[in-house]
């Protein structure tokens, strides 16, 4: 894992804070912030794992850090003979973190114990430590410093194993070769050392500014036919302060070549670099470079010899806040570090502020040249102490969530009309629509209003209001009508309302029934009235089922809990209404509502009546032509026209029929509504 350097006033110091992912599974992310605190975050849960403040954090701020290579640790004991299922599970435990400080000391911190493990001082550096690298087997540690020296430490004893002068100026970066026998060091130029003898093996030109990162990119030579001595043919990568180019170098057998093989160009100084090692020739090296401007550049390249032109990135990732509304513009969120996950297909991104970073796993999609992730980190600023201990996360439950209760459309599948039927209806509608001209309709309307003007019954204003309200969908007007509690008034209004408004009214009632239960109580009265009075009309409608499906479901779901009770109630109501009907048959007189259409096969009625009917209900019209059943009903309506008293009986009959159905357990619309009323 590479670590960026610490920042200070020094213009040639690398930008960014020292941070690193723990090796192997990237379970932790360590970040030494500028306030001297070392914080270790859990990448999976984005939780602060621990925080450590070195005793000398003010004077000797942390300049670099490195995780020790994972050590295997047996977690549980070997298999028992008694029970077969008991046995071992091991895990790679990483728990040591090496911190270099500005005063030259190196601290070893144990993340498992949460305390300082040891301090490497004696015989070490007397100036700022620039880079620390662990040897693969974990026994050694290499560090380099501004004091021009490289020190090899024995971690077991915490003593200096070897110390040698690495450069004429400060040594800024180190990297151990994949086989563990060589060491790269860099100030401005890059040197390759043989670790055994501490002799320079190769020189490379390096950068104009101090090198901030060094990394081997391959572990196998590109040409596999030649015998591999562990180092020849390998590529490595270097990045430097204030340098927007990352150079790739190749270790060659002859000592002549000192310049870079190729280079990658990025938008700003590299702050954090991570790469996936390519293990064979075909597999491209994937490189993620975090720049100081907060972007991540991804490169995917098969390293294969020279390339003059600097390569540009395959993909750039940026993160920004959502711009709320039109006023605030999205602001970029800086990415602090990026590390490849072990599957090489996703990237761990650390972004936000260094004291409360967010860690996220992002799946890679290299086809897209630019990824901009929108993230809201505004609520990340409050420290979450409580959740840190209880480990409880509360998902957001706000009022915007949709709530479905039985009866609300969407809770149950919508009742759809059988497809064949609707087609027929539609075709009929078209043909019917053409027959009546607008002028005729207007004329018909005039007559209609004129007629209504004649009737000066008090309740008549209610049907008018209702009709107007339904047509204009005026909430206020409807409220005025529908919120009445007078049963008699309701009944009269329903009797007088024009037939074509029945369906809109029912839909309006359904909508209101789904609302607050208090208002629903009133609506039930209306519903009851409409359904009893206009049952005959409703039964003539061909598309009744889809039109009133929602109402049906609503009633069904509400009634379900009191099934037996509502059965009884329905029967009682039936009885009572029949008794009252027989007692005072002629109390309420149905107003002279004229049939909109009378259809007789042999002889037709007056022309004018037909015209009025046209305007109102085309459905009826179509229906009449189609179904013989409706004809009878219309005939009945016709009779009513002449003999108003017949009406009540008709209704009674309707109810009778309905209740019978209910008793049979038939789930029809009408019985349910009756029993539903309370």
């Amino acid at each position: 894992m590479a670590a960026g350097g610490g920042s200070s006033g020094d213009p040639l110091a690398p930008a960014g804070v020292p941070c690193a992912f723990s090796p192997h599974s990237q379970a932790y992310f360590a970040l030494a912030s500028t306030d001297g605190h070392l914080r270790v975050w859990e990448t999976a849960s984005n939780r602060l794992h621990q925080e450590y403040v070195p005793s000398a954090h003010l004077s000797g701020t942390c300049t670099c850090l490195a995780w020790a290579p994972a050590r295997l640790q047996a977690k549980e004991s070997p298999q028992r003979k008694k029970r077969k299922s008991e046995a071992v599970g091991t895990s790679n435990q990483t728990d040591l973190l090496a911190l270099g400080t500005a005063v030259g000391s190196i601290l070893l911190y144990s993340t498992v114990k949460g305390e300082l493990h040891s301090k490497l001082i004696s015989g070490g550096h007397d100036n700022r430590v620039n880079c620390i690298q662990w040897h693969q087997d974990g026994g050694c540690l290499y560090s380099c410093s501004d004091d021009k020296h490289i020190v090899e430490w024995n971690v077991q004893t915490c003593k200096v194993k070897c110390k040698w002068k690495g450069d004429n100026s400060s040594v800024t970066s180190l990297c151990v070769s994949p086989d563990g026998k060589m060491l790269l060091s860099a100030g401005r130029t890059i040197k390759l050392w043989v670790l055994e003898t501490k002799e320079v093996y190769r020189h490379f030109t390096g950068h104009a500014t101090p090198v901030s990162s060094l990394m081997f990119t391959t572990i196998r030579p590109p040409n596999e036919s030649q015998p591999f001595d562990g180092i020849t043919g390998l590529y490595f990568l270097s990045g430097a302060v204030h340098d927007r180019l990352l150079n790739v170098w190749q270790v060659r057998s002859e000592n002549k070549e000192k310049s870079a093989v190729m280079s990658f160009t990025v938008t700003d100084e590299p702050v954090y670099i991570d790469l996936t090692l390519s293990e064979n020739k075909e597999e491209p090296v994937k490189l993620a470079v975090v720049c100081r401007d907060g972007q991540v550049h991804l490169f995917e390249h098969i390293l294969n010899g020279y390339c003059k032109k600097p390569l540009t990135s395959n993909c750039t990732i940026q993160i920004a806040t959502p711009g709320k509304g039109k006023k605030s513009t999205p602001k970029p969120i800086p990415i602090l570090a990026a590390g490849f996950c072990s599957d090489k297909m996703s990237l761990l991104l650390v972004y936000g502020s260094w004291f409360q970073p967010t860690i996220e796993r992002v799946a890679l999609n290299t086809r897209e040249p630019h990824m901009c992730l929108v993230r809201d980190i505004s609520n990340c600023w409050t420290p979450k102490v409580e959740t840190a201990i209880t480990k409880v996360r509360t998902p957001v439950m706000n009022s915007e969530a949709k709530v479905l209760v039985p009866g609300i459309p969407g809770h149950h599948a919508a009742i759809k009309p059988a497809p064949l039927q609707t087609e027929q209806v539609e075709s009929k509608r078209k043909s019917g629509g053409n027959e009546v001209s607008i002028e005729e309709r207007l004329g018909a309307m005039d007559i209609d209003t004129h007629k209504k003007g004649k009737d000066d019954l008090q309740t008549n204003s209610f049907p008018v209001l209702l009709t107007q309200g339904l047509e204009s969908n005026d909430f206020e007007m409807l409220n005025k009508v529908l919120q009445t509690r007078n049963l008699n008034l309701i009944k009269k209004t329903v009797l007088r309302m024009p037939l074509h408004t029945v369906i809109p009214l029912l839909q309006e009632l359904t909508k209101r029934l789904q609302g607050h239960p208090n208002s629903a109580v009133l609506m039930v009265q209306w519903l009851k009235c409409v359904l009893t009075v206009h049952a005959s009309y409703l039964s003539t409608l061909p598309d009744l089922v889809p039109q009133l499906g929602a109402l049906y479901q609503l009633m069904e779901s509400r009634v379900k809990t009191f099934q037996k009770l509502s059965h009884l109630h329905g029967k009682l109501i039936l009885l009572i209404t029949q008794v009252t009907a027989s007692e005072k048959t002629k109390e309420t007189t149905s107003p002279g509502q004229k049939a909109k259409l009378v259809y007789e096969e042999e002889s037709s009625e007056e022309e004018s009546d037909d015209e009025i009917a046209d305007k109102d209900s085309e459905d009826n019209w179509d229906e009449d032509e189609e179904e013989s059943e409706s004809e009878k009903d219309e005939d009945d309506a016709e009779e009513e026209d002449e003999d108003a008293e017949g009406k009540d009986e008709e209704n009674g009959e309707d109810r009778d029929r309905a209740s019978e159905k209910e008793l049979n357990g038939d789930s029809d619309l009408d019985p349910e509504n009756e029993s539903e009323e309370e």
């Binding site: 984005n46 004991s77 070997p78 071992v88 895990s91 114990k113 459309p409 969407g410 149950h412």
Partner: protein, 790 residues
């Protein structure tokens, strides 16, 4: 992996932590708890497991610090051994073989070479407290034969036995009897609380439910109690008025322990959790195992986003458990209701959960059923918001069905543009829910609505499953499997085997996608070919768990027989199973899941190929999580020895310099003295006052003035020859030390360990200390007056 061992079943975590009281180390840095056959050492600061002490061959039943050397730990187990450990390095020092089942362990500082254990003689319910003399021997394994009975007829639980007054007597309770044994007099006194005699007692009442454990603080000034209310109560001065509470600890408190240093308490909870609590009743850390309190309804799932194992967690929560690190990531609070911990309450249970669309959607079903007819059901659909990196409730559905939901599945086909969820219920219907646009003029929104309701002859829907490409939906209605076209929701065909209700249902994957598998309750596993609509094969297998591997054609089935559970891995297209392992567990396996590997393995032999892309985890009835491993035990064990053991070497601090210099001076002086007067004097580090000063945490120390004089006096004690003028200087110096002491907390604690490493003289010191301290206190009075004069 070149070398291949046989596949073994390994336990991969989530073992029990709350079996016995946890024990603190002397410096409160570590906490020990028994966990199955192991003793786990956790760091109190980081919640991390530092070591696992393994060596016992059966359940570990008790652990205690060695009173003579607090860097050592005794443990006893049902395998009849007492083991002595060095917990800092995780090394087994000694094994004492007792040869009978040990149920609890006690140590007393005064009984130098013996420990006390509870054993079970003859009858199953008769327990005895015996003292075991631990023979001194250099060999690793020693037989401890000298057993002497202390108390008979006692309770099995170690909570019912307590040693008092520095080991002068031991008290044990059973039923209504209290027995006290006096070691010096060797007599037992018994009391029966059942009779009506008047005893002198104090009654502290707050708990309304059973009190599970009690503990006195180190100083004895306060008493801690906890029980099912999951509230820790601290009774100050053992009076009913002065009590402090730490509420909402989450689950029933089963054990309470107090650190010897007195700065920390810990409570073990029934949900497999240890909470570490500061003296000021503030929870500072939680060590959480796999939650074990309740049964698992949701089964095992893998969150596609975090790759964590997801299952029921705390009540009303979904638990995200990282398999890589064997640690709980977090609990997702689905219910968002305060959990009332009371006996007999019927709680809302989180019954089902499912992830859909690559972790973007989460569906959860909550259910509460008090009586047959009173069913409360709620389904919640959560959307993962990338912006805020968390789940947001999108749709809440009350009573999605009339009866219990039996299965829940998302259509996870890659091409499906519209998220689809299917719920199957006992009410005989299955419902298809789709995500629709819910926008209006005020907001843009999406919401779930029911798209289709299907049923088949009013049979109960028992299971549902989408095919891999999402084109077919299979719903099982009791004995019958129905196939539905997911475009039009038309019933395509039905399969019926008449072999009992279908318990598991799944489609084959990849090349085997033309097969549908069903396992019935009567122990028949059937495979249907969807192209020919005919039964391809069937086998007699009592399948308990059937899980398809998402990355291959393989399907794992765990069958249950009278002896144990067997695993079969097979491809639907091939009649012979790829792999069979008999006896993976003696218990019933309840749930299983395939976890895709991050990095595929490359086993070449046919028997292991099924483990290449995914790993199979399963959960048994006792809720231990197990998996398969091919690595040999040796390979896994050796690294412990290989472990990089960097020496702890912390540099000297100013405090150390002063103390060290002082010590040197003293040593020199002592040497002089001993040469001249031949007086044996303890070294500075052995002086009790100093060790006491160093042992106790700074915040429980008395004021510096008090300490200072004591400190000085302790140094002065042997030096009668010293002139009076020298004393004030010393005082100043010590005061300096004190002030530095508080600054250098960290380094200071390191120092202690060094000074305490010498365990030889420890006993003598302890005995010395009392008399010395008395003297010191006397001296202190004089000292004070002397200061007052000045």
């Amino acid at each position: 992996m070149v070398e291949e061992e046989s596949i073994r079943v390994v336990r991969c975590g989530g073992s029990e932590l709350n079996f016995r009281r946890a024990v603190f180390s002397a410096d409160s840095k570590y906490i020990f708890c028994v966990s199955g056959d192991f003793v786990k050492v956790y760091s109190t600061a980081t919640e991390e497991c530092v070591h696992i002490l393994h060596g016992h061959r059966n359940l570990v039943t008790g652990i205690q610090l060695n009173p003579n050397n607090h860097l050592q730990l005794y443990s006893c187990s049902l395998d009849g051994t007492i083991k002595l450990w060095d917990y800092i390095d995780g090394i087994l020092i000694k094994t004492f073989i007792v040869r009978c089942k040990l149920h609890a362990l006690f140590t007393v500082a005064q009984a130098e070479d013996s420990v006390f254990v509870t054993v079970n003689k003859e009858k199953p319910d008769i327990f005895q407290l015996v003292s075991v003399k631990l023979p001194k021997s250099s060999s690793q394994e020693v037989e401890a034969k000298e057993l002497s009975i202390v108390l008979d007829y006692i309770n099995q639980s170690p909570k019912c036995i307590a040693f008092g007054n520095e080991g002068v007597y031991v008290a044990a309770v059973r039923d209504f009897y209290l027995s006290v044994y006096f070691f010096k007099k060797k007599t037992t006194s018994r009391r029966n609380f059942y009779d009506e005699k008047k005893y002198t007692y104090t009654c502290l009442h707050w708990h309304h439910d059973i009190v599970m454990d009690l503990a006195f603080s180190v100083t004895g000034s306060s008493l801690l109690s906890g029980g099912r209310e999951s509230v820790l109560v601290e009774w100050r001065d053992a009076t009913e008025k002065n009590k402090e509470f730490l509420p909402r600890l989450g689950a029933t408190i089963e054990h309470i322990s107090v650190s010897p240093a007195g700065d920390l308490f810990c409570t073990s909870h029934s949900d497999n959790k240890i909470t570490i609590i500061h003296r000021n009743l503030e929870a500072s850390a939680v060590i959480q195992g796999l939650v074990k309190d309740r049964s698992i309804f949701t089964g095992l799932m893998i969150d596609p986003r975090t790759k964590a194992l997801v299952l029921n967690g705390k009540p009303g929560h979904l638990q995200f458990y990282s398999l890589q690190s064997d640690k709980q990531l977090y609990n997702l609070d689905i219910m968002q209701q305060e959990y009332i911990n009371d006996y007999g309450l019927i709680q809302i249970e989180l019954k089902k959960a499912a992830f859909g669309c690559f972790g973007n959607w989460l569906a959860t079903v909550e259910q509460r059923q008090e009586k047959e007819t009173e069913l409360e059901l709620q389904m919640k659909l959560w959307m993962y918001s990338k912006k805020t990196q968390g789940f947001i409730l999108n749709t809440k559905i009350h009573m999605p069905h009339e009866d219990c939901i039996t299965a829940l599945c998302f259509c996870n086909a890659e091409k499906s543009e519209q998220p689809t969820l299917v719920t199957a219920s006992k009410d005989g219907y299955f419902k298809v829910w789709i995500l629709t646009d819910d926008s209006d003029i005020y907001k843009k929104a999406v919401g779930w609505t029911c798209d289709f309701v299907g049923s088949y002859h009013k049979y109960q829907a028992t299971n549902c499953c989408f095919s891999e490409d999402g084109s077919l939906l299979a719903v099982s209605f009791e004995e019958i499997v129905t196939l539905w076209d997911s475009e039009t929701w038309e019933l395509k065909c039905t399969f019926c085997q008449r072999a009992g209700n279908i318990r598991h249902l799944c489609f084959g994957r990849l090349t085997c996608s033309k097969y549908l598998l069903g396992a019935t309750e009567n122990g028949i596993l059937s495979c249907w070919n969807l192209l020919s609509c005919a039964l391809e094969w069937s086998a007699k297998l009592n399948v308990r768990v059937m899980e398809p591997d998402p990355n291959s054609e393989n399907i794992a089935a765990v069958s249950q027989s009278s002896v144990g559970s067997d695993l079969f891995v097979f491809k639907p297209s091939e009649p012979r199973p790829l792999y069979i392992q008999k006896g993976i567990s003696r218990e019933e396996v309840q749930w299983g899941v395939f976890v895709p590997r991050d990095v595929p393995e490359s086993f070449t032999s046919e028997a292991y190929q099924w483990l290449n892309r995914s790993q199979f985890y399963f959960l048994t009835k006792s809720q231990s999580l197990l998996t398969f491993s091919t690595k040999s035990p040796e390979e896994k064990l050796t690294p412990t020895s290989k472990q990089l053991l960097a020496e702890e070497s912390l540099p000297t601090t100013p405090f150390y310099f002063i103390l060290g210099k002082h010590r040197q001076q003293q040593d020199e002086k002592l040497n002089e003295i001993s040469e001249n007067e031949l007086v044996q004097l303890p070294l500075t580090e052995n002086i009790p006052a100093i060790s006491e000063l160093l042992h106790t945490p700074a915040h429980v120390l008395p004021s510096a003035v008090f300490l200072c004089s004591m400190f000085v006096n302790s140094l002065l004690l042997s030096k009668e020859t010293k002139s009076a003028e020298e004393i004030p200087k010393d005082v100043d110096m010590e005061e300096e030390k004190e002030s530095e002491n508080s600054d250098e907390e960290n380094d200071f604690t390191e120092k202690i360990q060094e000074t305490n490493n010498t365990d030889l003289g420890e006993d003598i010191i302890h005995q010395l200390s009392k008399s010395e301290e008395k003297e010191l206190r006397k001296f202190r009075k004089i000292d004070y007056s002397w200061i007052a004069v000045l």
